[in-house]
Amino acid sequence: MMTRAIKSEFRKLFTTRLWWGMAIGIFLAGAAMAALFAFVVTASTPGAEGTPQGTKSQMANLVYTGGLSMAYVLTMTIGVLSIGQEYRHQTITSTLLAVPRRATAMIAKVISLLGIGAFYGIISLIGSVAVGASILASKGFSPFPGGDVFRTLALSLLVLGLWALIGLGAGILMKNQVTALLVMIGAAWIVEPLASLGLSFVSWGSKVVPYLPSAATSAIVNQPSQSPTVHQLSWWAGALVLIGYAAVLTILGMIRVQRSDVS
């Protein structure tokens, strides 16, 4: 039952035009940001004002995952749409007729979104590693200065899946996909950066900032710290924080699906 439901969820994504539009976006974001950061990293004098501070591995991580903040907003969008379109076009009815146990239907969505996140993660990495590594190498930098770079690449796949789940939960809770997209993209690109900037000026606030979703994401992929006053979480702590956000939103969403009438 579960295997079939998961297969059905994958088919839902790959039978509309959304998936390749997203694939192109994620690929280009990965490639373009890798090019940008590769030039910044290789051109800057270490220690100069306004340049990213970090280890060689962190610099490589920044190159390869520079497009991640765009990519995760796109997989979050896929997460919102994976449920929002079902509500919008009432295909939730046929979904639940085929898989009437709602927990099964929802867990199938969760598993498929983690898979879809990894799939887009690979697309993003194809773009960013191809472009980033060749620029780094051509400037005489080691493209893979440490083994932890590979850990970062692997974890970036998880990051995109977790953001898709954040989107899924938000999509269920807000039900209207346009509202959910506006709220979530606004939160990710406007509210959160402003909040973390504001919070970093106050002492208690700078303790909160590392736990915000985007800061946790940077920590997972071990990019250089954004702000000298804010301490970045270790990669595994960042992963736990982001898993926490995804789990809370997904579980709240599943409870709502379990209880609500579909009409």
């Binding site: 297969k7 059905s8 839902k12 035009r17 046929s94 979904t95 085929a98 579909v262 009409s263």
Partner: protein, 307 residues
Amino acid sequence: MTATGRPIQIDGLTKSFGSFVAVDQLTCTMSPGRITGFLGPNGAGKTTTLRMLLGLVRPTAGTALIGGERYDQLANPLQTVGAALEATSFHPGRTGRDHLRVLAAASGVSDQRVDELLELVGIPAAARKRAGGYSMGMRQRLGLAAALLGDPGVLVLDEPANGLDPEGIRWLRGFLRHLSSEGRTIVVSSHMLSEVQQTVDDVVIINNGRMIRQGTIAELHGAPRTRVRTSDSAALQEALRSADLAATAGPDGALVVETDDHVRIGDLALGARLPIYELVAVQTDLETTFFELTEGTNRNLEGGDPR
């Protein structure tokens, strides 16, 4: 006859939305090998009832079982029950064929079966275009194909004739007849009795969420009657009465006799030396019956007390 059909048993089924009782203690049965018309005016609670049967809406009280099981307990739901609820629930950017393939994947049905069904409902080519451009008739046919995907023994179709042209309705009627003859349980909801009266064997009529009438279509027609016209109605009435045939005089002078035995009426008239000017079976106007059963009480039309 295959033994695939399971009975649908609805018992005390109730759904309240706040203080509004959409379905009120509904009890009825729908049997294998028969087409049941589930009838009522718009807003009578038909769709809510079907959605409770299919596990989409949680009943406030009562049960709706398919062969003794709740829909969400079925091991292979689409292989047991096929449902077409509303003809508009397709993603406009996905082709009709892919819509079926998504459901096929969820229920372990092959893509080959998908293509067979598209042939069967007559839209094999159109189903390769995006569903956004489909006509109502095509949506109905695609919905029917989705319902038949798992070759289920129970079919639940909500207003399946909506948007079909007369040829399509004729095709649907023959198709449902064929499926029913294989022993399947078929439920067809409609707000118009005339739309389904030639298709259905049984009727369940509800209004304001409550059962109004359940029985065969023949029972709804009532006892057979014959209208007869002669030169002396009173004399013929007397002759019929002496043969234990009840007859009532209509305002136009014709008699309505409680039988469909035209030979007997003719013989009795001949015995009484009365001429026959007209001898014809009386057709019950089921639509009138339906309106009489459901009229004047529709809670959705009046602003006042819904009951």
